[in-house]
């Protein structure tokens, strides 16, 4: 059909089918904008996945799982390194609060995040060159003193280096690593992995580790050891990550007997490769992870049996569930709800047995949980070694009294301790009591950021509140149920025989991929294209197939919210249209189909121009070719 030869008043000229671009084509929506049609506008708003939120270091877990899915291991590794300097360590020993928080637990089973982290960490360790080095800023000439080379201290040194600061890390033992070496057995964390991670950090340049220096030891004990004020005056800032390496002592008869050993001291000597002996019948007093580690190490070392005596009931043991299961497999015995009453010794002062009583934990009238012994239930057991794992402390008498409280360092919400300089921070176990490796790593990261702020004269401020994506807001119809791949284990019999055989083994590439593939990308756009596909009005645009690279054509979107409904991850949400009050958020219908008075149509100038251009193009194409293919192709030139 042609309008040529027919007089059509200009204000009634309507777009002509086939000549003017339909809404599905370029400029089509410009021609047919429908104005504001909606009550709600779909908006891409990424939220914090629960794993990311639960991780004390704030690892962007969703992001690196996504990289693993796409075989981009280096990108995944670098993503971890933004927050955590030692994924090969945490990939082995972390108590994975991320997996506990994983929304997938409500769906089927949580994702094996730790295993994937280990996979990426080991990938990174195997690289010839440390990929971080190229991106580091030059040193800015300022140096921070860090007390303790455990996870907290090393993380702080690493994150300071990423911000251009040099650091000197003081370690009391003769090898760096803190509790990673002296508290975690080698069958959890092989020595060569730890050494490689520390070497990687030391290789960044600007991080100096001085072993054999115990901060704060009185001058009459060590002689010339730096004390707090000295550190504060000699360095630009100080981070205290001393840890808690002194085991609590037993207060029972016979506690001085030969064969009563602190579990921490036992693990430290073993970890440092010094000669340690235990008997074949070992009692471990305590119900936590240290007790479990000590018992399992004792079995490996002495070849005998070990029994964990705990006040806690069997179901209330504070041992990480998978560690507990592994301990049972290795033959560790349990005497729950028992307490050690006294140690029996022979004439030479060696342990020959112990008297246990039934006991439990109960709240007293002030609400504090205390041990409660049941009298008259004493029974004797034979043993030759008693490992004591009833808690740990740190010697802090060299710190000013106002900086300590009940055996811990007292710090404000930023981890800063009361000191005239205002540049002394603390973190890790010595501040928060016995806690996870990853807590210390997070404290180190936080301290580095805050030290940077203090030294740049910026105010300290808390983190922005995170909006964590709950399971209920995901569109779970899109996620098939898939079982979790458990990390493979060395057989229990082999484990019992060796102090160095790693218990938990690595995921294969396929297994890591399968686990990463289970990630639901809670609250974060993973580029699934669903919104792009389901939009009935061609209002979702995709310029690049990448995370978050969609946009909503607000001039055309009708607000049907199908995209919001069908977004699997919940990163799309509806926002009331009236909340958008910036001038360009107002799109009035000024086009061919606008309902105006009198006539049906009055075209806006740009619309008229578009139509005229389209007609001109059409005319030009007709004059250039003799035959017109209905679909526009095939004309002879």
């Amino acid at each position: 059909m042609s309008v040529r030869g027919t007089h059509v008043p200009e204000h009634l000229r309507l777009p002509i089918a086939g000549v003017t671009p339909p809404p599905t084509e370029k400029d089509g929506q410009r021609l047919f904008p429908t104005g504001n049609f909606r009550f709600f506008r779909p908006v891409y708003k990424d939220k914090t996945p629960p794993c990311n939120h639960a991780c004390p270091t704030g690892e962007q877990i969703q992001k690196y799982l996504d990289y693993v899915k796409h075989d981009r291991y280096l990108d995944g590794y670098l993503t971890i390194l933004q927050d955590n300097p030692m994924p090969s360590v945490t990939g082995r020993v972390c108590y994975h609060p991320c997996e506990t928080a994983c929304n997938r637990a409500a769906h089927d089973e949580p994702i094996g995040i730790r295993g994937v982290e280990r996979f990426l960490g080991d990938f990174g360790l195997a690289l010839q060159e440390n990929p971080v080095i190229g991106d580091l800023p030059p040193l800015n000439g300022r140096t921070v003193a860090i007390a303790g080379s455990g996870p907290g201290g090393l993380a702080c040194a690493y994150h300071l280096r990423r911000r251009g600061y040099a650091s000197v890390v003081f370690e009391a033992l003769d090898r760096p690593g803190g509790m990673l070496r002296a508290g975690i057995p080698a069958w959890h964390l092989p020595e060569q992995v730890l050494d490689a991670e520390i070497a990687k950090l030391a290789g960044l340049g600007g991080i100096e580790i001085r072993c054999g220096v115990r901060i704060g030891a009185a001058a009459d004990q060590g002689g010339g050891q730096p004390a707090l004020d000295e550190l504060a005056s000699r360095y630009d800032a100080v981070f205290l990550a001393l840890g808690q390496d002194v085991g609590r002592r037993l207060d029972v008869t016979g506690a001085q007997a030969r064969g009563v050993i602190g579990a921490l001291e036992f693990l430290r000597e073993t970890g440092l490769g010094r000669p340690v002996t235990v008997g074949r019948r070992v009692l471990v007093i305590g119900g936590g992870n240290t007790a479990s580690d000590a018992a399992r190490s004792a079995i490996r070392l002495g070849g005998g049996e070990a029994t964990i005596v705990s006040l806690e009931a069997e179901a209330d043991l504070l041992i990480q569930p998978e560690d507990l299961a592994q301990a049972r497999d290795e033959g560790v015995g349990f005497r729950p709800e028992h307490a050690l009453a006294r140690v029996l010794t022979d004439e030479a002062g060696n342990v020959r047995g112990a008297v246990l009583t039934r006991a439990g934990l109960a709240r007293d009238e002030t609400g504090v949980v205390r041990p409660k012994i049941i009298p008259g239930t004493e029974a004797e057991v034979a043993c030759d070694t008693i490992l004591v794992a009833i808690g740990q402390v740190q010697v802090l008498d060299w710190l000013p009294a106002r900086a300590t409280e009940r055996g811990l360092i007292r710090a404000d919400e930023y981890g800063r301790i009361p000191h005239d300089s205002g540049r002394i921070f603390a973190g890790g176990d010595v501040m928060r009591g016995p806690s996870m490796v990853v807590d210390a790593l997070g404290d180190g990261k936080r301290a580095a950021r805050d030290i940077d702020r203090v030294l740049s004269a910026e105010p300290l401020r808390p983190d922005d509140p995170a909006e964590v994506m709950p399971y209920e807001k995901l569109n779970t119809a899109y996620f098939r149920h898939a079982p979790r791949t458990e990390a493979p284990l060395t057989p229990a019999a082999d484990r019992r025989a060796s102090q160095v055989t790693e218990v938990t083994l690595a995921y294969s590439r396929e297994q890591a991929l399968a686990e990463a593939d289970r990630c639901m990308s809670c609250g974060v756009c993973n580029g699934c294209d669903n919104c792009y596909i389901v939009c009935p009005d061609v209002s979702v645009l995709r310029d690049a197939r990448q995370n978050g690279h969609y946009s909503i054509r607000t001039h055309y979107c009708k607000g049907c919210l199908v995209c919001v409904q069908e977004c699997p991850t919940g990163c799309l949400e509806k926002v009331p249209e009236m909340d958008f009050d910036e001038p360009d958020a107002v799109v009035r219908m000024e086009t061919a189909f606008a309902p105006y008075d009198g006539a049906h149509a009055e075209q806006a100038p740009f619309t008229r121009q578009l139509i005229e251009d389209a007609i001109a193009d059409y005319d030009a194409s007709r004059s250039n070719s003799q035959s017109i293919h209905p679909n526009g192709g095939g004309g002879t030139p």
Binding site: G35, R38, F39, K558, M578, M589, P595, Y596, D597, G598
Partner: protein, 217 residues
């Protein structure tokens, strides 16, 4: 005296409310002895959810001569049944300068709503009337307000009413407070007389009392 009322609304989901406003105004005006006309169904009945639709009424103390021009050429009373329409269209086309009485169903601050009017529309505005009609209306059934319901419930309850006789009472729900606010602010019709033709008289009177008028822009 000559008033032209254009009620802007959203297709299907708030069609009934818009129709009730124009019907009640025209009915009351006629009962009061004015010449009146009501166009409750005209071209923009596209049966599309959310699409802009209009209902027209006019009344005067002289005969209406251009009675076949259904779309009001010079509307001076304008009702937006739903607040987002303020962003959607130039509803002041043809309105005499400074004489537009704009009634908006909104719980928002009138000053916030004024941000959405460009200068050429502000020039037409004489009186901004903001009434929280949704809040003032009598609740009916499980969920009386179409536009906050999901579509499945909506389709079950209210199909398009194009061309049909009214099945439900005229002047219920959010229409009633809107009529109240319009009549009270418009000034030429007595509130009590109009209330007689509105099904939910109490809600109409609530709207007549509880609204905000802004005359300084």
């Amino acid at each position: 005296m000559h008033h032209e009322l254009t009620v802007w609304s959203r297709g299907i989901i708030m069609d009934k409310e818009a129709r009730d406003v124009s019907t009640c105004i025209a009915t009351a005006a006629r009962q009061l002895g004015y010449y009146a006309e009501n166009v409750s169904d005209y071209v923009d009945d596209p049966d599309r959810t959310n699409c802009l639709v209009r209902r027209y009424a006019r009344f005067a103390d002289a005969p209406i001569l251009d009675r076949f021009v259904y779309e009001n050429p010079h509307p001076d009373w304008i009702v937006l049944v739903e607040e987002t329409i303020i962003k959607a269209v130039n509803f002041f086309r043809g309105t005499p300068d400074g004489q537009g009485v704009l009634v908006i169903n909104s719980a928002r601050d009138p000053r916030y709503l004024l941000k959405f009017l460009p200068p050429h529309m502000l020039a037409k505005l004489g009186k901004l009337v903001v009434v929280d009609a949704t809040g003032l209306a009598e609740q009916r059934g499980s969920s009386p307000w179409m536009f906050v319901r999901d579509l499945s419930e909506l389709a079950f309850d209210r199909m398009s009413t194009e061309g049909a006789v009214e099945r439900l009472a005229i002047g219920r729900g959010i229409a009633a407070p809107l009529i109240g606010a319009l009549v009270a602010a418009g000034g030429d019709l007595p509130v009590d007389a109009v209330a007689e033709v509105v099904a939910d008289r109490e809600a109409m009177l609530r709207g007549a009392k509880q609204h905000t008028v802004v005359e300084e822009f």
